[in-house]
């Protein structure tokens, strides 16, 4: 066993209200710079919808991620074999127009215009060229447009649905949407990293954060193609690629990443997972149907004495192990089996998990009265407005049973709480639902508490990072006793 620690995340989609506060928090801290205006390291998409960049899930077009080729895993559109072909012109690189051309307005016109008969207006102009422009696309241009013929219809996940099911999603009474907040998944088998010819991208051993060394990046831009989630971005001004850094300076100071800290719906959880690195090789070679199961098996129990011993031998700090034991992510992903990775079929072993949304149940109108479908109180999950097939295409490589199991549990928790709070459901009904979902009343209570009543410290369990110890790698600290501090000295100058 080679035990490693990974700072990992869970997003509870039932709680996401699509307010984009996370995106703004991230933008203000990290990408409010020249060349980075178009980047949204954190973005929130409306599903069904096309996403950002446009149709990023279409790997036939963008050629991201890994594929299994005759039992061997290889990068789909990048990698050593294709370097010479790609390096002078990368034919699958998304260009600015696949994202959007960033713009701002001539606000000063509102103040400086001479007096006249008309109101002055602020005209939009490009933040790239500075020319006036007609705004035709943005990072959430299809925000809240689930069911639209223009956007939702082009959702890549529609491929999983029959044409009748697709049509259904566009009927006024059946229209549906959900939000999908996305950041870098800090994968265990990152395709961006494997694609980088310069070796500028690396995964941090201590906590698994995937970073790009700006000093080493040479703008070969293969990472942008390589990442199937399109979460590495090319800064056209500096000529360097950039990506979500999981706010590692904040993490090291014990603070939650800005997107998580600012989350209004409190949908985000962060914590440590311990995993067996030796099993990664096995996971990525699995058949698509077994991918998620295998990934979860590689995540080990932080209470198991053997695991603790192995983790210590592998150099995982005590703080990290303690943190893993308190990790909310472990509960969601492993203990309760409620969180699933996004598009695991790209085989990057993403370490950001989603609790799929239960969504409003299907209703009907008869005699001018709106009523739930089905005979159960909250109706059956098979009558969900968003077909389980669609959710399965996002979160379980098309395996509907995985999503159904999760939704059953979420529903059982609701039934259980309904019994506790209002009592219009009998205890036996609630127990039925719980046993069908395979959880106990205590577990349901715990799930309810971590979903609805979670405190800040329960959502964010961040280990001490011990940066102060890192210095021992390069310097003998005792020799520097009494000096004015030490650290990595670096010229801050940039062009």
């Amino acid at each position: 066993m080679d035990i490693r620690a990974q700072i990992s995340m869970v997003f509870h989609l039932d709680k996401c209200i699509g307010c984009h506060t996370c995106s703004i928090a991230c933008k203000n801290i990290w990408t409010d710079r020249k060349g980075a205006e178009y980047m949204w390291w954190n973005n929130v998409e409306t599903k069904p919808g096309t996403g950002y960049p446009h149709r990023w899930e279409d790997q036939e077009d963008y050629q991201g991620g890994w594929i299994l080729n005759g039992g061997e895993i290889e990068l789909k559109g990048t990698g050593k074999k294709r370097l010479l072909k790609n390096i002078f012109h990368n034919s699958t690189l998304p260009v600015l127009d696949d994202y959007y051309e960033p713009w701002t307005y001539t606000y000063s016109d509102l103040f400086d215009s001479p007096q006249g008969d008309d109101q002055p207006v602020a005209r939009p102009y490009s933040m790239v060229t500075g020319e006036y422009m007609d705004v035709k696309a943005g990072p959430n241009w299809d925000d809240d447009l689930g069911g639209s013929e223009l956007y939702a219809k082009n959702d890549v996940n529609y491929d999983a649905l029959t044409s009748a099911e697709r049509e259904d999603l566009h009927h006024l009474q059946k229209m549906v949407m959900m939000y999908l907040p996305r950041i870098c998944n800090h994968c265990q088998n990152p395709a961006c990293l494997a694609s980088c010819p310069s070796g500028a991208i690396y995964k941090r051993g201590e906590d698994g954060v995937v970073l790009i060394n700006q000093e080493k990046c040479r703008a070969w831009r293969m990472c942008v193609t390589g990442c199937p989630y399109k979460k590495t971005y090319y800064n056209w001004q500096s000529g360097k690629s950039e990506k979500c850094v999981l706010c590692y300076p904040r993490l090291e100071a014990g603070e939650a990443p800005a997107c998580m800290h600012s989350c209004v719906g409190r949908i985000r959880y962060i914590g440590v997972l311990l995993y067996d690195k030796d099993k990664i090789e096995g996971i990525i070679h699995q058949d698509e149907k077994q991918l998620i199961q295998a990934q979860k098996e590689a995540i080990v129990d932080p209470f198991d004495p053997e695991v603790i011993k192995a983790a210590q031998d592998c150099g995982v700090s005590t703080h990290m192990i303690e943190s893993a034991q308190k990790s909310p992510v472990y509960k969601w992903v492993k203990e309760w089996n409620l969180a699933l990775p996004l598009h695991a079929e790209y085989r990057t072993v993403p370490m950001l998990f989603y609790v799929p949304p239960l969504l409003p149940v299907m209703g009907n109108i008869s005699h001018n009265l709106y009523d739930n479908n089905g005979d159960q109180f909250f109706t059956s999950i098979d009558d969900c407005r968003l077909p389980i097939k669609y959710l399965a295409s996002l979160f379980s490589c098309g395996d509907e049973s995985l999503v159904r199991d999760v939704l059953k549990k979420l529903m059982a928790v609701r039934v259980h709480r309904r019994e506790v709070t209002t009592g219009d459901i009998s205890r036996s009904q609630a127990d039925d639902a719980l046993s069908q979902a395979g959880i106990t009343a205590e577990e349901a209570e715990a799930i309810y508490k971590l979903s609805s009543l979670c405190t800040f410290d329960q959502r964010f369990v961040i280990p001490a990072s011990h940066r102060e110890e890192a210095i021992e790698m390069t310097k003998m600290v005792l020799e520097h006793k009494g000096e004015v501090g030490f650290g990595f000295k670096e010229d801050p100058e940039r062009i």
Partner: protein, 230 residues
């Protein structure tokens, strides 16, 4: 004058290039980048970058081989058919490089997005490269069988430079366009550290033998613990 241009300037250019490049790399390797502009404009780049790179790399390989193994090269090119093939390949690649450069130059001047990130050094570099390739193609067209006489007439001069004993008599009576080609090449060498041309120095060759995944520890407890035990 030609003593300076062909006997002294090559050394100034090379020393300048090497010293400044090393200094820059150590001081601020952040500058070393291909500064790709494909993100802002991809289509025209394809028609420029692809023919340019493949063309110029092939031609440079020919130059290099003749420089390294002149006698073998001359012997090889003695057979007329081989010479013809060599000549055709170089000429085609030369034209490819030239057309690619023209496309790149046009794109840089006319595309409004590319304009934004274009520096004076970018334009100077493109102009110098244009002169270089144009003069090279000119030599190939008007002074026939260059792939043969280059190895016997110019390579000795280059080799004399290499052994620090410049023998400019080899080059002194060459036609103007050949002289331009030689001088301009050293001019390009001189400006390497100031331009995006630096990217060929950091070509990602090591990618081919590194493992795909990289993990870096700031503070590897395992390593330090093992060191304790030993």
């Amino acid at each position: 004058m030609s003593q300076f241009l062909f006997g002294v300037f090559p050394y100034i250019a090379s020393v300048l290039a090497v010293v400044i490049t090393i200094y820059e790399y150590r001081r601020n390797s952040f500058h070393f980048s291909s500064i790709s502009s494909q993100f802002l404009e991809g289509r025209k780049l394809f028609w420029g970058s692809i023919p340019w790179h493949y063309g110029v790399l092939t031609v440079l390989l020919g130059h290099l081989l003749a420089f390294l193994f002149p006698s073998a090269y001359i012997a090889f090119a003695k057979v007329p058919m081989r010479l013809l093939i060599l000549e055709v390949i170089s000429l085609v690649c030369g034209f490819m490089a030239f057309l690619g450069l023209v496309m790149l130059f046009k794109r840089r001047m006319l595309d409004s997005r590319i304009n934004i990130i274009t520096t004076n050094f970018d334009i100077s570099l493109l102009l110098l490269l244009l002169i270089q390739v144009a003069s090279g193609v000119g030599v190939a067209l008007f002074y026939r069988w260059g792939s043969s006489w280059y190895a016997s007439a110019v390579v000795p001069y280059l080799r004399s430079l290499w052994v620090l004993d410049p023998e400019i008599s080899y080059i002194a009576n060459m036609p103007f366009v050949v002289k331009l080609h030689v001088f301009n090449s050293f001019l390009i060498v001189a400006i390497i550290p100031f331009t995006r041309l630096m990217h060929f120095l950091v070509a990602p060759v090591h990618y081919f033998w590194r493992p795909y995944q990289i993990v870096i520890w700031n503070w590897s407890r395992r390593k330090i613990r093992k060191a304790d035990q030993q």
